[in-house]
């Protein structure tokens, strides 16, 4: 039997039940659409996160208190007060840590900043000039605080663009006084509008010397993080090792399992982000795959009905010389056409909705969301839909092919 004829027969049979075909392939369309959409958004999210991490710079090393969280209970460790002032001096010593260019201790909290009757909640970061260098932000007007001001716990503050706008409007803010936790701070600099950089919302940032933040705002004598910069990218592993040794000595740690700090490099962060986004994408894709499975069952259901309805036709074809394989391939082809069609429509709609989603996400996430289409997803969508067609079409097709001609011709 000729393939063109089988194809023609399958198409004309499907054409005879347009509405039924449409409803049948809807399940496949939704399944493939979901896979494309989820994988595309997952891919975009991954690229966005990786871009953000890469923005930190390959030479950057972060030291955080508490051991690396390996389970939910370890998260409390992150609030440990293990990173102290004395550690900075030890880490700065080139005899202890090789290849270290700079170190910025960091403290942070969410605070309310007020100017006259205006108030605004903001993220306050207490750090040094290195923080600005790492984030690549420099005051548009005014200046950064000096090392001297850090030493003197000077009550000076730099404001992000949005905070400045909300508190001062278009008026000049340099030299004005704002209040944070009842302490008066002099505005010495305003950052330009920058959006998100390395997961920091720079426009909503209040930057003060870390000494000032510790003393007047947080009332603590430890740090939430050390951000360090190595001299070169290649020396990072050596520097990390030296930091570990120095901090263990400083904190009297002999058991490696009992570290009260953990170190993250850009490579670690990329790997971690990759893992997390991949797991999330896989999880969401499996949810989408379930809808494809349901769609497949729908195909099987309709094909079974179709086989039943066309029992006499099967009998007739067999009486006229069709072999079991002829009948099997006819019905199988019908279900593959259905799923293939559903898959193709699903891919087109999936790309369309992924594009729409990227437009929406661009307005919601101020991070520079990029529209990406995963070719893996397109291939997967096509492959899975054809596979569903074969798997779920096989049983009804087999059932049709095994009918005895007499029994089929007698069917009412």
């Amino acid at each position: 039997m000729k393939l063109t004829y089988t194809l023609k027969t399958a198409l004309s049979s499907l054409k005879a039940h347009k509405m039924r075909c449409f409803l049948t392939i809807l399940g496949i369309v939704i399944g493939v659409l979901s896979i494309i959409l989820v994988m595309s958004i997952g891919q975009s999210a991954k690229e966005l996160i990786l871009n953000q991490i890469e923005g930190i710079g390959a030479k950057t090393i972060a030291v955080e208190p508490g051991r690396e969280p390996k389970g939910p209970s370890d998260f409390l460790e992150m609030f440990s007060d293990s990173l102290k002032e004395k550690d900075i001096a030890l880490l700065k010593n080139p005899n202890n840590v090789r290849g270290l260019a700079e170190i910025a201790p960091v403290v942070y909290q969410s605070v309310v900043v007020s100017y006259q009757s205006e108030t605004k909640r903001a993220s306050i970061i207490g750090s040094s000039a290195l923080m600005a260098k790492i984030l690549d932000i420099y005051p548009e007007t005014g200046d950064f605080f000096t090392e001297e001001e850090i030493r003197q716990d000077a009550a000076v503050v730099l404001l992000g663009y949005e905070i400045k706008q909300e508190l001062f409007g278009p008026s000049d803010a340099i030299g004005e006084q704002v209040k944070i936790k009842n302490k008066t701070f002099r505005v010495i600099g305003i950052f330009p509008k920058k959006g998100m950089i390395s997961m920091f919302d720079v426009d909503n940032l209040v930057l003060v010397p870390y000494t000032t933040a510790q003393k007047y705002i947080l009332g603590i004598n430890y740090f939430n993080e050390f951000i360090l910069e190595a001299e070169t990218e290649s020396i990072v592993p050596t520097t990390v090792k030296d930091i570990e040794t120095t901090l263990r000595e400083s904190h009297n740690i002999s058991d490696l399992e009992k570290d009260d700090f953990h170190i993250t490099t850009q490579a670690d962060a990329i790997e971690r982000a990759n893992t997390i986004t991949s797991i999330l994408t896989a999880l969401l894709t499996s949810v989408a795959a379930i809808s494809l499975l349901v769609g497949g069952i729908g195909i099987m259901n309709i094909m079974l009905v179709s086989v039943l309805e066309r029992t006499r036709e099967v009998g007739l074809r067999k009486a006229l010389g069709a072999t079991d394989n002829n009948i099997l391939s006819q019905f199988l082809l019908e279900s593959i056409i259905l799923t293939g069609l559903g898959g193709t429509i699903g891919i087109i709609l999936g790309i369309f909705f992924a594009f729409i989603a990227s437009l929406i996400l661009k307005t919601i996430v101020p991070l520079g969301w990029i529209f990406t289409i995963s070719f893996k997803a397109i291939f997967l969508g096509l492959f899975v839909s054809a596979f569903v067609g074969v798997v779920f079409g096989l049983y009804p097709a087999k059932k049709a092919s095994q009918k005895s001609p007499t029994e089929a011709l007698r069917y009412e």
Binding site: M1, K2, T4, Y5, S12, A16, R312, E313, G315, L316, R317, K318, A319, L320, G321, A322, T323, D324, N326, S404, P405, T406, E407, L409
Partner: protein, 239 residues
């Protein structure tokens, strides 16, 4: 050597622990070119016998030789090939594809044959011409009258130039005029050398055959040559 030879052929249907014997030991031979009518009341087993002879169903026991070869020795694909190339079927209910054109319906057996695709239309049109339906080639089957439908079914049965035509009550659903036309066509096909096995319960239709086999309760009651074979008049029906 008979074209068809059966010895002690039996068919029993089994359902829900119930055995229903339909054919209880049929023995007969049909020569190439014969026109045989099988008659009998409802439930006598005539259609079942036709299905066995046409390889549409399997018999329970006995021997069936087609072209001197035991039916049981044919594989499933060989049986399909025999049905396609050597047999043609005409059913009481026509069994056409209602949404397909007359041409497509007649072409149907060709799709399962070795005939080259470029010859399909030519063969189908010639077959349609033989039954006088050239003016209805592009009509959908469901747009035709009963008589026309049966003529399409005959054209379909002839398209692969088979050796034997099995006709299961071909005039059963037709008025007498249309029935006459169908019988006239079958008569002419037989004259061209085709073997015809006709199932009917109408005596006047059976009179077209050379030989009438009467079945009753699954056994042959009589098997006689027709002494005075009827022929069609010029109006297209038997006197």
């Amino acid at each position: 050597m008979p074209l068809i030879e059966v010895k002690n052929l039996k068919k029993t249907y089994f359902s829900d622990n119930m055995e229903t014997p339909v054919l209880k030991g049929i023995s007969l031979g049909i020569e190439k070119g014969e026109f045989v009518a099988i008659m009998g009341p409802s439930g006598s087993g005539k259609s079942t016998l036709l299905h066995m002879l046409g390889f549409l169903d399997e018999f329970t026991s006995g021997v069936y030789n087609f072209e001197d070869k035991p039916a049981k020795s044919y594989s499933k694909n060989e049986v399909a090939k025999i049905r396609n190339e050597k047999m043609g079927f005409i059913f009481q209910a026509f069994n056409l594809l209602p949404k397909s054109s007359v041409l497509d319906n007649v072409k149907l057996p060709l799709f399962y044959s070795k005939t080259k695709e470029k010859d399909w239309d030519k063969l189908a049109l010639s077959s349609i011409d033989r039954v006088g339906l050239s003016h209805r080639v592009n009509y959908e089957a469901n747009q035709l009258s009963g008589g026309e439908k049966q003529r399409v079914a005959i054209a379909r049965a002839l398209v692969n130039n088979p050796d034997v035509i099995f006709a299961d009550e071909p005039t059963g659903n037709l008025d007498t005029k249309s029935g006459g036309q169908i019988m006239e066509i079958l008569e002419s096909i037989n004259k061209q050398g085709k073997t015809i096995i006709l199932i009917t319960h109408e005596t006047y239709t059976a009179q077209y055959a050379q030989r009438i086999i009467h079945l009753k309760d699954g056994v042959i009651e009589s098997d006689e040559q027709v002494k005075e074979r009827k022929t069609s008049n010029k109006d297209g029906f038997i006197k």
